[in-house]
Symmetry: C2
Subunit: 299 residues, 2 copies
Amino acid sequence: MALELISSAKCYNGVQKVYKHVSSEVGCSMNFSLYEPSSSTPGETFPVLFYLSGLTCTEQNFIQKSGFQKYASEHRLIVVGPDTSPRGCNLPGEKDAWDFGEGASAYVDAVKEPWSKHYRMYSYVTKELPKLVSDNFPTSGKFGIFGHSMGGHGAIVCALRNPHLFLSISAFAPITNPSITSWAKDKVFKNYLGEENKELWASYDSCELIKGYTGPPRDILVDQGDSDEFLLQILHPENLIAAAGQSPHHVKLTLRMQPGYNHSYFFVQSFIGDHIAHHAKILCPAKYQDKPKNTPHEK
Amino acid sequence: MALELISSAKCYNGVQKVYKHVSSEVGCSMNFSLYEPSSSTPGETFPVLFYLSGLTCTEQNFIQKSGFQKYASEHRLIVVGPDTSPRGCNLPGEKDAWDFGEGASAYVDAVKEPWSKHYRMYSYVTKELPKLVSDNFPTSGKFGIFGHSMGGHGAIVCALRNPHLFLSISAFAPITNPSITSWAKDKVFKNYLGEENKELWASYDSCELIKGYTGPPRDILVDQGDSDEFLLQILHPENLIAAAGQSPHHVKLTLRMQPGYNHSYFFVQSFIGDHIAHHAKILCPAKYQDKPKNTPHEK
């Protein structure tokens, strides 16, 4: 799996790179972004935080618009952002809609033709990409994951289904309960997974996964703008809160409704620092432990 | 001069807006971005920092990619970013090159046909836009200006020629000495100003303006990446340093060569916080004065 570096720019003392490689999971060429902090000591390794983007995005939106590099540099995390879907596979209808096909993988492994050969973003994100990054970059072996909108959905799903792979989770304005949306019922789940496979649908639904979660304790941070134009139609944060309330196994959800914010990267950038800090505290805990206080010397 | 709000998004507690208006100076519809911090007290006013973008940009690049909003919110500045040129004026050749015509005004007032009617960005930036902003937003009356590349050139030129209008100046990778570049000699100055008008060229050349500057003392902050792909061809920071050395009238230049950085917004975002702080210290000095130290009570 050869990596081709297609761009590189110094940013906040680290380097923002974009790589291209031929993916065995999705069967085509894929781009991903990778931010690497500068090493302060020889042989330094870094935790890796994966970021999944939303509908219509490529690997570029997040690296251009979120301003995450400042915080990744400060907290010393590698941050990796894949493209949102396979591209150029010449499948019928792959370019016909903004919320289906290219740019709209829903981060599932499709089982229906003609999508099943290429639309395997779940396996790409949870298997191929972590291995590729581990094999080629100085990682500490600790991974976290976050994302925005469709990518927030992907992040929570990938993390709850792989609790020993992803140790930290957060999301901006995630699609929390896709099974009940017309997006899934008329488009992505129907076509990628099949109308009849409702158990398979549930395995890609954050609300269903939280209720059934039996892994180690998890703190999930979610920010949601209350002026988000997609709030009522597709995001359903109230369902995620309800599902977390039914979680028997230690999923602690901190969902912050942020007054006045919409769905854009102007919202994401406003809280990106909080999210990176959330992951850093879990992925590099030694740095954040309380230092022992000086006790006054008594005579 | 009616303003039409064309987009608005909350960002770091303030609001990132884009307005459209019909400009009398350039004779067409113009967009500009305006970030307004949230008011902490009724009737609060803010200094205004103008940002001029580089070649090919619109008013969007800076607001999407620089991450300035965090710092503008913290330092409580209104930040205004105009488009880089008139658009849609149907002038012959206006769309033929990336570095001439649309997106490449050079921030001059053209005197040659067919450009002289519309390509009046110098007057737009130094007269119409400051008045428009003052008339419509809660400004303190103190203005600063900065920019990137062609916009860094524009910022230094506009500020040194209008020292009582713009009190603070900085630039990222500015075109410092356009008169000696083929960009000016073959394209912008030749066509907008005329080959024969060398005095007019000098009035739009930062190096010439610094040498002849007689206004109040000015501290100019400039950051320049040493891996900038345009460094040798068009930027010439060494000429700006030499010119500042010949300045008889108090232009203090702090030019930081930043190792490894290129010309992109990955470079701009890495130092945007320093630039906003530079302007804030000049535009709102009361906030940054050293507070009197507590003296220990002696018995």
